[in-house]
């Protein structure tokens, strides 16, 4: 059987497509169909010739198989140093083979590639910083995911995820109306405690446009109002777009390049429409990577930059604390030992390592660094889509062990994780291994510690 009903080479195009996939719980039928899916070798080779740039070719060619990348990979370490988890082996035995064979590979091989690309690499890019040649297996796995996706070999959840982006321009089914209504609802709930609080929608020429992760709108709307409170207290002139507020990209995890472009163009469209001075991104790592680092290339922007200056939430908080826009009550600083999870996507891959240290200086009395940390930190264990794929749950749980050991070594029982993916992974880590930790985003912590100017308080 060449093309399955659910598992095929066509991306999700309609609500019916999406519903059919969603109805197939855990992708049982989907993965069964995948076993029969034909590999279109001609198309695969044509795609490679069209899209594989000289950097990838060179990287595949010059890898000396020296194995120095092995110890850089947390998945190698937590899987008992299995040689099959050595980054160079992982990429050479998948992408390397496909290229060598000019796309003439079997269905079984493609499924092995899928399992490798999504359960043996989180695209954390740590190996790239230890390779003497600077070969980045994470980047190449990102590329391999794209090739696999174009042939229909993509985990079920991620086909749904990128389908959501295609239909809703968000990773979850949140419409413009629902989003605006949610903002109104949240303000309504908070008004009593925060008089004059607002979430200005579609305000043009504001200083800040704030963009988020669809999960916040769908399941954790408190997060949106917490951001609103902090902007309010800091006296920022800010807004949110009614369309283009979602900056995550499950399509990036899925390797659905077309959907990546669609999504980020919606986000850039909002920036161009509202002309803010800056964009502030919520506490999410991959959303920042998708919108700020990779997005400009997907959208074909000649300068490689988004339309306006984009900063991550930790940058905004660090700046607001340093400038005194947000003031912390010294008596309310965190007294217990606390550690911070450095998100690969905006620390290793975007250089924002100092922001959280500045923040910790303001809010914590006993900040403990993980080891290693900053740009050398390990992935939380659930990055690159790993958290969300049921098929690889077992492998993901093993992957959490590195973070567990790192956290335990700090002696802290409290972990600040300013990234949705890391936050999820650390929550799951506690559920799986019960090491007695708590974890939090920055926003709710900051609100509890703020010195609020008198005129912003409710009058009793």
């Amino acid at each position: 059987m060449p093309e399955g009903k659910l598992c095929n080479k066509k991306p999700v195009a309609t609500r019916e497509d999406l519903d059919a996939l969603l109805a197939d719980s855990n992708g049982r039928q989907y993965y069964a169909e995948m076993e029969q899916l034909d590999v279109d070798a001609e198309k695969l080779w044509a795609t490679i010739q069209k899209t594989m740039k000289s950097r990838t070719k060179t990287w595949l060619d010059i890898c000396a198989h020296c194995g120095l990348c092995a110890d850089s990979c947390f998945l190698y370490s937590v899987n008992e140093r299995d040689p099959k988890q050595v980054p160079s082996y992982k990429i050479q035995s998948t992408l390397g083979e496909i290229v060598k064979k000019k796309g003439n590979v079997s269905n079984e091989f493609m499924r092995m590639c899928m399992d490798t690309a999504w359960s043996k690499c989180t695209c954390c890019n740590r190996c790239g910083s230890f390779c003497p040649y600077g070969i980045d297996m994470g980047v190449m796995f990102g590329y391999l995911r794209g090739l696999l996706n174009s042939q229909g070999f993509v985990p079920w959840e991620l086909k749904i995820g990128s389908g959501m982006h295609r239909l809703f321009r968000a990773q979850m089914d949140v419409t413009v109306e629902e989003f605006v209504d949610t903002c109104e609802w949240m303000v309504d709930e908070a008004l009593e405690e925060w008089p004059c609080l607002e979430i200005p929608i579609d305000k043009e020429d504001a200083d800040i446009v704030y963009m988020i992760n669809a999960r916040e709108a769908k399941h954790y709307p408190e997060d949106i109002v917490e951001a609103a409170i902090l902007f309010h207290v800091a006296g920022e002139n800010w807004t949110m777009p009614s369309e283009g507020w979602e900056m995550t990209s499950l399509s990036m995890f899925a390797g659905d390049w077309e959907a990546c472009k669609m999504q980020v163009e919606t986000v850039y469209g909002a920036m161009e429409r509202l002309r803010p001075k800056r964009m502030v991104a919520t506490e999410c790592g991959h959303a920042y990577r998708a919108t700020v680092i990779e997005g400009p290339y997907w959208a074909g922007r000649p300068d490689g930059q988004p339309p306006v200056e984009c900063i991550h939430y930790v940058e905004w908080v660090a700046e607001a604390l340093e400038l005194g826009k947000l003031k912390i009550d010294p008596a309310k600083k965190i007294k217990e030992p606390v550690t911070v999870q450095d998100s690969c996507n905006y620390v290793r891959n975007a250089g924002l390592r100092d922001c959280t240290r500045i923040i910790m200086k303001h809010i914590a009395e006993d900040f403990r660094e993980m080891a290693p940390n900053k740009e050398h930190n390990y992935c939380c264990g659930g990055g690159g889509g790993f958290n969300g794929i049921g098929r690889y749950r077992k492998q993901r749980n093993i992957a959490l062990k590195m973070k567990r050991e790192q956290i335990l070594a700090t002696g802290a029982k409290f972990v600040i994780a300013p990234c949705h993916n890391c936050w999820d992974a650390i929550r799951d880590l506690e559920e799986e291994y019960e090491i007695g930790i708590r974890w939090s985003f920055l926003k709710p912590l900051l609100i509890k510690m703020l010195e609020v100017p008198e005129h912003l308080l409710p009058q009793e």
């Binding site: 109805a23 855990n26 992708g27 399941h219 889509g385 958290n387 049921g390 999820d424």
Partner: protein, 306 residues
């Protein structure tokens, strides 16, 4: 008094007492009853797993499971549903307190009825574990526009048979709304309304001078008169008392002495998410300890037109 009631239930026996009151109320006021169950917290991308309330086991969340749960809810409340109450069963996936509030807002309900929060309700324990600190109940009570009626234990009398209502006054803004609700309820049911305030003496180890206590007593008496009692008008079944002690203990003791069928209080805790205060503040303690239902009111919206 009520036209739409939302009964948020885990479907487990710990909600049976609440179910009885909810169906009772709906029948009495000819109100539409929404029986609402939140299946669980989503966490697995699109392959969602929830903890089944009855078995405590992880199950895949799919259409079959959802239909089965709805069916189970129908069976659980079968007898009550046959009583002629207009009733709608629905489920949702999400963070429990958020979904209950969402439903209440969507349907514009006048009252939310909930069961026990911390004893034996896996759904809540799960939410708590997942670090949505503070119980579902506490978070619903804080943000809800409608009064939230919590039934923790089997109740002795039906809503219509309530004869003694205790109003726990704390002089906050929210407590003004709560008082309006208490007065309306007492009038409606022709019950005795006991307005009560407890002066907080802090911990038993901190000494407070008798002079200070007397001053506080005088001040509280004055505020009680000006803030609440003045509103009672021609309603004469009102008494007022002020005691000193640890507020939640005093309220529970007072309710016992007055053989209260219902306690009404304001919810005005600001620190819902705080680990230490998660179960620590007065309302939560009263909820856990009182033998009768407790209604929490935080906002005026639904009280106005009642």
């Amino acid at each position: 008094m009520f036209t739409k009631i939302l009964f948020a239930t885990s479907g487990s026996p710990c909600c049976d007492a609440a179910a009885r009151v909810a169906f009772d109320l709906a029948a009495r006021y000819n109100a539409k009853l929404f029986v609402y169950h939140v299946l669980g917290v989503p966490s697995r991308g699109f392959s969602q797993v929830v903890v089944d309330v009855r078995t405590g086991e992880k199950v895949e969340l799919d259409e079959d499971y959802t239909l089965w749960v709805k069916d189970e809810l129908k069976n659980t409340y079968d007898r009550q549903m046959k009583g002629g109450v207009e009733c709608e069963i629905d489920t949702a996936v999400g963070i429990p307190h958020r979904e209950v509030l969402r439903k209440a807002r969507q349907e514009d309900v006048d009252l939310i009825v909930m069961g026990a929060s911390t004893t034996g309700c896996e759904a809540d324990a799960d939410a708590y574990q997942r670090h949505f600190a503070g119980s579902t109940l506490q978070r619903v009570a804080k943000a809800s526009k409608a009064p939230v009626l919590v039934v923790n234990r089997p109740v002795a009398s039906f809503w219509g048979g309530f004869t003694n209502i205790v109003f726990g006054a704390d002089f906050s803004k929210a407590s003004e709304h709560a008082f309006k609700f208490a007065l309306k309820t007492a009038r409606e049911l022709n019950a005795q309304l006991h307005v009560f305030h407890a002066i907080d003496i802090g911990s038993t180890h901190s000494l407070i001078s008798q002079k200070e206590l007397d001053d506080k007593m005088i001040e509280a008496r004055d505020r009680m008169r000006r803030k609440y009692l003045i509103q009672t008008g021609d309603f004469k079944n009102v008494s007022a008392d002020i005691w000193e002690g640890i507020p939640y203990v005093e309220i529970v003791k007072y309710a016992r002495e007055k053989q209260a069928d219902l306690i009404i209080m304001a919810h005005h805790s600001k620190d819902v998410g705080d680990e230490e205060s998660a179960f620590g503040h007065t309302l939560e303690q009263v909820l856990l300890r009182a033998t009768c239902p407790v209604a929490s009111v935080n906002r005026p919206d639904k009280i106005q037109n009642m």
